[in-house]
Symmetry: C2
Subunit: 281 residues, 2 copies
Amino acid sequence: MNFHTKYELFRAYFERALGIVFERETEGAPEMLAESMRYSLEAGGKRVRPVLFLATLDTFGYAWEEEIALATAIECIHTYSLIHDDLPAMDNDDLRRGKPSNHKMFGEANAILAGDGLLSLGFHLLLKEATRSKRHLAAGEILSRAAGVLGMVAGQSFELFCEKQPEKFSEEELLAIYRRKTSDMIAAPCAMAATLANCFKEEFLHFGEKLGMLFQLTDDILDAKSGEDCDKLTATQIYGIEGAEKMADAWAEDCKNILKKIGADTTFHEYLVDFVRNRKH
Amino acid sequence: MNFHTKYELFRAYFERALGIVFERETEGAPEMLAESMRYSLEAGGKRVRPVLFLATLDTFGYAWEEEIALATAIECIHTYSLIHDDLPAMDNDDLRRGKPSNHKMFGEANAILAGDGLLSLGFHLLLKEATRSKRHLAAGEILSRAAGVLGMVAGQSFELFCEKQPEKFSEEELLAIYRRKTSDMIAAPCAMAATLANCFKEEFLHFGEKLGMLFQLTDDILDAKSGEDCDKLTATQIYGIEGAEKMADAWAEDCKNILKKIGADTTFHEYLVDFVRNRKH
């Protein structure tokens, strides 16, 4: 099976299962809340994080179909961060993935609550899954750390801090933002899968961190090319688009070098590096 | 030891320990994020939820000093809800406990992130504590459910829905809001403590639910007397202040009747009912 077919298999399976988990977990919730949460959760996107999680489990021959709840937790926490990030007080984005952002559809108050609801649901799933085994609990702790005040929330806060005077900051701050805002939440699915399978934990964490850095870098390059987000501290601001492209090539190479040291079939992950590097949106 | 001395003992011990847990868990977080989270966490209040949790543990002779992390999780999740509730798009409150609300001090973007950070930290503590024992995990699940899309977030969303046309709704909706918005997060500390001690779980859950209803009812009475929040669906709107006062007396009585059926020394809880019923703020 080639990479794109396999990616699509994981993505399609996950999206179907996500809907089932979501309806089960929100049964009895107010319709307005469930609707606004569902809207952003179903808005699609590439589903990189859950696919990475499931595909990494698959690398180990692990029955990945049994870990949909954890994959859903990953996507819920990622989606909450997009909703809150789009709010007028934050990035003030009217569009997300070509559709009206959550607060444009449902109003600011509902969007704040939809984000709070998705964050709570994500963590609730982690706690429920933790009852299955110690490894599941450990996997939950990994995501919890990546999402929290030393991970994604820290990244958002630090970015906000640097945004006010981006010219005062340079590579050190940039890498800290990339690491926490994006890389932690992409490394987590890798580390969670390796923890469940109890194989190559350090190696997959390391790979995921580098892939996450590449993901944010290519995001910034795509934004710079389309003229967006220019008041933020980004790699293209420091190095220009061409410099950032060279950096991305080097980081993609780093990712592949890490994979070479892992004694498992990481063909999917190798293609995923190119997929992240070469994507057009 | 009389009730007020005992309450103060739990409150003072908790506040000191809370500071230690907070500093430990946010070491390495961006200063702006930690500062805005700390501001609301240290803004005080009565600490009813953690005190109720610790005092209920004490009722069973359980070493409550060992459960400060769970008490902190309870307070983190409660505090995040206050920060987000005060935001301009929600209740738009400039003051909280006589001090500027979080967004008035730090701006809206930081307040959103401070709330997200406290919610994440609360859940992170639940996952960390879950590694200690199955009972700790079960206690975490209780709080997780109470805080989430079937609990507090549901209550906030349903209140928002009813706020638009309060005249269309009546007792059924009011009780649903009270139950989810407030009562679930007051019942949770009782149920968590009883779960840890493995004693009278149903009974303490039942007591906490009723006490939580009473808490929200007396809150609404206090607000009505001071002329606040009159565009919401409240008991004073439906029954008038006098009617709501009678309802509060009856609910306080209900709380005490539940306690009488519990075969443990619930003297503290009896006084707590009066404390909630008779408080002036």
